[in-house]
């Protein structure tokens, strides 16, 4: 039953991506801009939700994984750019897709590296280690001249469009949602609910925690690649700790462990950022106030259902 819904959602999401892509020429640049950023934020929030929400491992290093993917894919497309300039469009798109994948794979390798030593840590300690790891990635890039150092990389070919963005966002949602609803995936939730009981049940908690980090980082890497090929310019500053916090906010606001919730929160926060432009210099204050009010009114998040799953009427 759940599986049918997931497959249906996958097809619907992909169809919607194609439709969006088809009507893109009629939209103005500003609208396309917001759409793409919202899509990238959905990927980031849904993938972080697997780690923070479903598996209960508090990670603050998502921007680091995003940077790993952004730089890897950008270096590849920049190197290939002279050859691709005269190549047919489909070849350029195929190269772009391969570069994105390479970025995702490298990011998931980084996720593996941070996942393994952090397994013995919980809660605040894990948050600090992942925070440190994200910063290390950023500082290494900042001090590597081949990667543009603090100046960043510019002239990245703008391959990202609505089709890529929402196609990948749909796949991210599908993968995370069907993973968590599968027999295998309930292991993630059991680690979050009670690690000791999970271990006592014979669940290899180490494997699940590393898997969450690796899958989460993979999609963060894809999001980074999409971002780089949309803005055409990346710098280490764009992937600092605050970027990680932005994603954490989306996850908490949407409801830890609720995939539709965090996707909605990602869209909402992207839109809010734009709609509040009227408040000019008070924008961030209004933004913060809205967050505070939301957290007071709905502490479990927009669509958070953990601990409050609907109770079936008890039978006599």
């Amino acid at each position: 039953m759940k599986k049918h819904i997931a497959h249906l959602a996958l097809v619907a999401g992909l169809a919607a991506s194609v439709a969006l892509y088809a009507i893109a020429p009629q939209l103005d640049d500003y609208a396309v801009n917001i759409f793409v950023l919202a899509g990238i934020n959905i990927i980031l929030a849904v993938s972080l939700n697997l780690v923070n929400g479903h598996t209960g491992q508090f990670s603050l290093g998502h921007a680091g994984f995003m940077a790993a993917g952004a730089y890897t894919s950008s270096i590849i497309t920049l190197t290939l750019a002279p050859a691709l300039a005269s190549a047919p469009a489909w070849q350029a798109q195929a190269a772009f897709f391969s570069a994105l994948l390479a970025g995702g794979l490298f990011a998931s390798f980084c996720g593996f590296l941070v996942g393994v030593p952090s397994l013995r840590l919980r809660g605040d300690y894990l948050a600090i280690v992942t925070l440190g790891f994200g910063e290390i990635i950023r500082v290494v890039i900042q001090n590597t001249n081949a990667l543009g150092g603090a100046r960043g990389l510019e002239g990245i070919p703008p391959y990202t469009n609505l089709l890529w963005t929402f196609g990948i966002a749909t796949v991210a949602i599908y993968v995370v949602a069907s993973l968590v609803n599968s027999t295998y995936g309930r292991g993630f939730i059991s680690v979050r609910d009670d690690e000791i009981a999970a271990e006592a049940m014979g669940i290899n908690t180490t494997k699940y925690k590393v898997a969450a980090f690796v899958i989460g980082a993979f999609f963060a890497g894809l999001a980074g690649g999409l971002y780089a090929h949309f803005i055409s310019y990346i710098a280490p500053e764009g992937f600092n700790f605050l970027k990680s916090v932005d994603v954490v906010v989306m996850v908490i606001l949407g409801g830890m462990g609720s995939t539709p919730g965090v996707a909605a929160a990602a869209v909402l926060l992207t839109l809010m950022n734009e709609l509040l432009r009227d408040f000019e210099q008070y924008r961030m204050i209004v933004f913060a106030l809205l967050l505070i009010i939301l957290m007071i009114v709905r502490p479990q998040g927009l669509l958070g259902n953990f601990q409050r799953r609907k109770r079936k009427a008890p039978q006599p």
């Binding site: 009670d194 006592a200 049940m201 014979g202 799953r309």
Partner: protein, 239 residues
């Protein structure tokens, strides 16, 4: 079936167990009683591979399982129902039970085991689709035991099944424990603070105090032992 020799466990330099030895013969119920902080839970955690063993050995069915990863120990037929009924509160009752069978691949046998569990704990069948966190304390305890049974163990480690549960349910749970032992033929190591109850259903008992075993006898003689009666059985007359 289960043999522990000179077991030492410590948490970050603080020793919880100072070399305990105990034996659980196949098909029996053995109980480990003692006050708070005596090291009862640490013993069970060391057996199931959750706590690290500093020295000593744990042998299960002739195989050394000392410091083996928890999931390998479960695969050998050891199930642990942890203290404080740690159910997965966000999963339904049915999902919790399936998590217990996590390492098994024999689907047919799993569903027949589910049926057997429902005859033991009919209450769980009524609540299958309910989130485990919404169950009452006693129901959660039943679920924790049932979940442990789903791994099809030969030996069951029960950590304080009476903790914080309505007295009427404690009676039910203890009679189910006896049934699990007699009818399903499981060997049980039972950790309890409620010494009176534990000594009534077990055949052999160990008394643990600050990480050492101070008494080890049949439950019959432990019940009449004056030291046990004053320290653990209180005013109540042991029957």
């Amino acid at each position: 079936m289960l043999e522990i020799r000179n077991l030492h466990v410590s948490y970050g330099g603080i020793a919880a167990l100072h070399g305990i030895s105990l034996e659980v013969p196949a098909g029996s119920i053995v109980t480990l009683i003692g006050g708070n902080g005596a090291g009862k839970s640490s013993t069970l955690r060391a057996i199931s591979g959750i706590a690290k063993v500093a020295s000593g050995s744990i042998v299960f069915e002739g195989r050394d399982i000392t410091n083996k990863p928890a999931h390998e120990i479960v695969a050998l037929g050891m199930a642990h129902s942890p203290e404080g009924r740690m159910v997965f509160s966000n999963l339904t009752v049915l999902e919790n039970l399936h998590m217990g069978a996590h390492l098994r691949r024999d689907r047919v046998a799993i569903s027949s085991d589910l049926e057997r569990i429902f005859t033991l704990f009919p209450r769980l069948k009524e609540r299958l689709q309910q989130a485990a966190g919404t169950l009452s304390g006693g129901e959660q305890q039943m679920l924790a035991i049932a979940r442990a049974l789903m791994s099809k163990p030969k030996c069951l480690l029960l950590d304080e099944p009476s903790l914080g549960i309505a007295p009427i349910l404690v009676q039910t749970i203890f009679s189910r424990i006896v049934e699990i032992n007699r009818e399903l033929g499981l060997t049980i190591l039972l950790v309890e603070q409620n010494a009176n109850l534990a000594l009534r259903i077990a055949s052999h008992g160990y008394v643990l105090e600050t990480g050492r075993i101070i008494l080890n006898d049949t439950t019959e003689s432990l019940r009449t032992n004056p030291a046990v009666r004053s320290a653990y059985l209180g005013e109540e007359r042991a029957t």
